[in-house]
Amino acid sequence: MATNALELSGIEAFYGDSHVLHAVTFACGPARLLGLLGRNGAGKSTCMNVTVGLLAPRRGDIFVFGHRVTGLPPEQIAARGVALVPQGRRIFKSLTVRENLVVAARAPTDGRPASWTLETVFAMFPRLGERVNHIAAYLSGGEQQMLAIGRALMGNPRVLLMDEPSEGLAPQIVHEVMNTIRKLKESGLSIVLVEQNPTLVFDVADDIVILNSGRVAVVSTPAKLKQENVDLRQHLGVF
């Protein structure tokens, strides 16, 4: 089997004294989409923080395409081809749309020509192209989410992490975002999609990991989960 795009292995993570991730192990294969599910506070964002280097795990390892990145600073992990669309979007509010994208621009890690540039991002999100000189703070929620995705793509990543990209968006916009994710997956990007809502994820995911109180509770695929008729409510709360 080819090396995994992203692998977390035996991760123990703490915020101060509170133990948040317990022996978390999962992997996302190349060009696959892993849906990471779990209810509020399950530790999904913490997995993201650990992966991008914002939180050093106390034990365990993280591999990106076979390279160990555990303990590297965020900017070096970015250089290994990992990009994050963070929960809450966290665009640079006082920068313009263009500046938000330009500051994140980076050539691909493996010497391929850059497939994501201002032009290709604007082609994917024409709304951003129309607002190129607007201050990001004044964009609508949906536009800010597009900007956060565009910013992540400008790094020409090999692994894209998306932390609840549908949060707080109108259904129509959620639909657009999911279409975008589908296109990105078809382009060969390896994606980890964090969500609370399983129905969104089951449509697009190849693999599913469910976290419960900081532990991996389920590793499966959407098809199997549907076939086995597993009661997800036990892990995800009621929807």
Binding site: L54, A78, G155
Partner: protein, 290 residues
């Protein structure tokens, strides 16, 4: 009439010097949240370095402008070292930063006293700018007009750098959300060193450029630091435009205050600062964060 005209030019000149001094102070405070109390010392250190390079004390004698650039570079390196070795260890601890930078300023003052003694050093006006300009009955030293031009040019360059380049956008991104900036690959820590060094270099440059007007003497640091503080509080920290406008305002208040109410010069100087602190604590042009 002539009196007022000359006073006005002097005010703008002094405002230009204050801008060179306070732009760095404002950026360092606005971007890195570090109240850098060594800023007056960096100005004085630059002035002493410049005077030394110009005066030929080091066998070599440098042209005024070469000396100014050399002094700025040396002090920029000194600033970078302070940032890397000391301030870097105290992220977010403003009290500790205040104490450390204050401590360094005392050490720099002692060091200067030891090396250059207690007598003021006069620095000659650079050749080419030594003359006077006549405008009707009024006579202006050419150098003062030159200082205004230099300050304006540097203000424009700084604005272009911060507002129109990718580096500038990266610095602003690092201020908006340092963690997220690192996640997208921006080396925030390097940027902060660059900003600190730039601020230190500008202060030193101001020290040399100001030397023919102010001369160089022990205590110059403590004369300049409060002015930088007032400018930044008035203009708003982190705002280049704020430093610019604040510097010009303080340049006028300082010069007119000394000419008209010499006994109340400091009162007149700090009054607008108090008013701004009470009425508009973020300063006239406080950084825009929606």
């Amino acid at each position: 009439m002539t009196f007022w005209l000359v006073l006005t030019v002097n005010s703008i000149t002094f405002g230009g010097l204050l801008f060179l001094l306070s732009a760095g102070f404002s950026l360092i405070f606005g971007l890195m949240r570090i109240p850098n109390l060594t800023h007056g010392s960096l100005f004085m250190l630059g002035a002493y370095f410049g005077a030394t390079f110009i005066g030929g004390y080091l066998t070599l004698q440098f042209d005024f402008w070469v000396a100014a650039v050399l002094a700025a570079l040396s002090v920029a390196v000194f600033g970078a070292v302070i940032e890397r070795l000391l301030l870097r260890q105290l992220p977010g601890q403003q009290m500790a930063q205040v104490l450390v930078t204050l401590g360094i300023s005392f050490m720099v003052a002692d060091f200067c006293l030891l090396l250059w003694g207690g007598d003021p050093i006069n620095v000659a006006t650079p050749q080419g700018l030594a003359g006077f300009v006549r405008a009707g009955p009024a006579v202006f030293p050419l150098y003062r007009l030159g200082v205004i031009a230099i300050a304006a040019a540097i203000a424009a360059a700084l604005w272009l750098l911060l507002d129109r380049t990718r580096l500038g956008a990266m610095i602003r991104a690092g201020v908006d959300d340092p963690d997220m900036a690192r996640v997208v690959g921006i080396r925030v820590s390097q940027l902060f060193t660059i900003v600190f060094a730039l601020g230190a270099g500008l202060a030193a440059f101001a020290g040399v450029v100001g030397a023919p007007i102010l001369s160089v003497y022990p205590g110059l640091d403590q004369d300049m630091l409060p002015l930088a503080l007032v400018v930044v509080i008035l203009g708003g920290s982190g705002s280049l435009l704020g430093s610019f406008v604040g510097s010009i305002i303080i340049g006028f208040i300082y010069n007119f205050g000394q000419a008209l109410f010499p006994e109340l010069a400091y009162f007149v100087l700090f009054l607008p600062m108090l008013l701004v602190l009470i009425l508009r604590p973020q300063g006239l042009f406080g950084r825009f964060v929606p």
